[in-house]
């Protein structure tokens, strides 16, 4: 057998062996991976809704029990009402309800950081303006820099921040470069959190996609704010 024929045969065999191996691994492991991902998403929704603190260890079973007991998967209609049934133009909302009353609700947020799309959930209280929690569960940012978005020190800052300014207009929550106390005046500090040093682009990305996604859910949030004001 000439050497080039041998090379072709070897390459072909190699390709077949490797692809069969990887396909086999991917298909057999898929159910496990999917159930892990689902549990991870549920855990993040629970964190955004303040149902778990993120410190205690929970098994997949615990997560799904708490989730099924407290969280309703609903859809927001274009005029900002909630519907139990899926509607084509509706947006997903995860509602924490207690005896039929809305306590808080989480919305999915996602957008570009520096290297990757960041996925997370933002929880808002029933008043439609106060952030109850935020989580980022999937990203490909540099660990130690942009990757800090998934760390508690960064996420905890969002708790209690407001998505509206003192005049009541929607402004979203922004990430500043450096410290909030150095960058914005005291009356605006409620709308901003500290940035991540060495990760300016990731911080800017978070600011812009939070604004974009909160804007989408503004019909619901503003309706809740009006309800709160009327009471």
């Amino acid at each position: 057998m000439s050497s080039s024929v041998k090379s072709f045969v070897f390459a072909a065999v190699m390709c077949v062996v490797c692809s069969v191996l990887l396909t086999l691994a991917a298909t057999t492991l898929k159910p496990f991976q999917e159930s892990n991902e689902r549990a991870d998403k549920q855990k993040n929704i629970l964190k955004a809704l303040q149902l778990v603190d993120g410190k205690t260890k929970l098994t997949k079973q615990d997560v799904s029990t708490i989730y099924d007991k407290n969280v309703l998967n609903v859809w927001m209609t274009p005029d900002g009402r909630l519907s139990k049934d899926e509607i084509p133009e509706g947006k997903r909302v995860f509602v924490r309800a207690d005896k039929g009353n809305l306590v808080s609700y989480a919305i999915p947020v996602s957008g570009y950081g520096l290297w990757s799309t960041i996925y997370g959930y933002l929880g808002l209280s029933a008043d439609g303006k106060t952030v109850s929690g935020i989580t980022f569960y999937k990203h490909g940012e540099t660990p130690g820099l942009g990757g800090e978005v998934d760390k508690p020190w960064f996420q905890n800052q969002f708790k209690g921040k407001s998505i509206i300014d003192s005049s009541g207009a929607f402004v979203s929550v922004g990430v500043v470069k450096g410290k909030v106390t150095d960058r914005v005046s005291a009356d605006k500090a409620i709308n901003y959190v500290d940035g991540i040093s060495g990760a300016t682009i990731t911080s800017q990305g978070v600011t812009s996609f939070l604004k974009k996604d909160l804007q989408v859910y503004e019909p619901l949030s503003s309706r809740l704010r009006r309800q709160g004001a009327a009471q």
Partner: protein
């Protein structure tokens, strides 16, 4: 025969000391910059890298008489990337938390020049058993540099070690500021440069 005199011990120890892949051969610098901002990822990367390096060395060494010379690089790369993808899939299925922590590092292992370098320079010309030890040695040689660099970068850059606050709040109150420079890639360059210099001087003297 004493353990320290065996050939296996020699190929295991050399990359950890005098023939270190990072500080002497200056390989694998790209990932050393990326994963050394904190200690935990540095440790995890060391384990992942050592495991993949040992496996790829063994597999390539087993096939060394079969691989046609003209396509050997592609074959090596195929073996390495298949191993890395397999490891990634297994982690995602059974150790989801670890796989989340590793995030982009798993993919980074494929591009690590040390793995290709050892396959080319060692596994193609030696038996599987000794190649295995060469892989372990190089993985750990790479790893200890990572850990040392990460130690300095995390301590100086963030004031923490393994995520725990080390520098007391009182020092910050006095006006101490974390060195933001250490968090960025150039900080790693400086630390690695100092290690290279230190090691070159030591080797010359001994």
């Amino acid at each position: 025969m004493k353990l320290t005199k065996t050939k296996e011990f020699k190929v295991f120890m050399e990359p950890i000391s005098v023939a270190n892949p990072v500080s002497v051969l200056v390989l694998g610098i790209c990932s050393s910059l990326a994963v050394t901002t904190q200690l935990i990822p540095a440790f995890v990367m060391t384990f992942a890298m050592t495991a993949v390096l040992a496996c790829s060395n063994v597999i390539i060494s087993l096939m060394r008489n079969l691989i046609p010379k003209n396509i050997r690089i592609i074959v090596e790369l195929t073996v390495i990337s298949s191993l890395v993808i397999l490891a990634d899939q297994l982690l995602k299925a059974f150790m989801f938390d670890v796989s989340k922590m590793l995030s982009v590092f798993v993919g980074l292992i494929i591009t690590n020049c040390i793995i290709m370098g050892r396959a080319e320079a060692f596994a193609l010309g030696n038996g599987p058993w000794i190649s295995f030890w060469d892989g372990i040695g190089n993985g750990l040689g790479y790893g200890w540099i990572l850990v040392v660099v990460a130690f300095f970068r995390e301590l100086l850059g963030s004031g923490t070690l393994f995520g725990f606050k080390i520098i007391p709040q009182a020092v910050y109150d006095f006006g101490y500021v974390d060195m933001g420079f250490m968090v960025l890639a150039p900080g790693a360059f400086i630390v690695i440069g100092l290690i290279c210099w230190f090691q070159k001087t030591c080797i010359k003297e001994s």
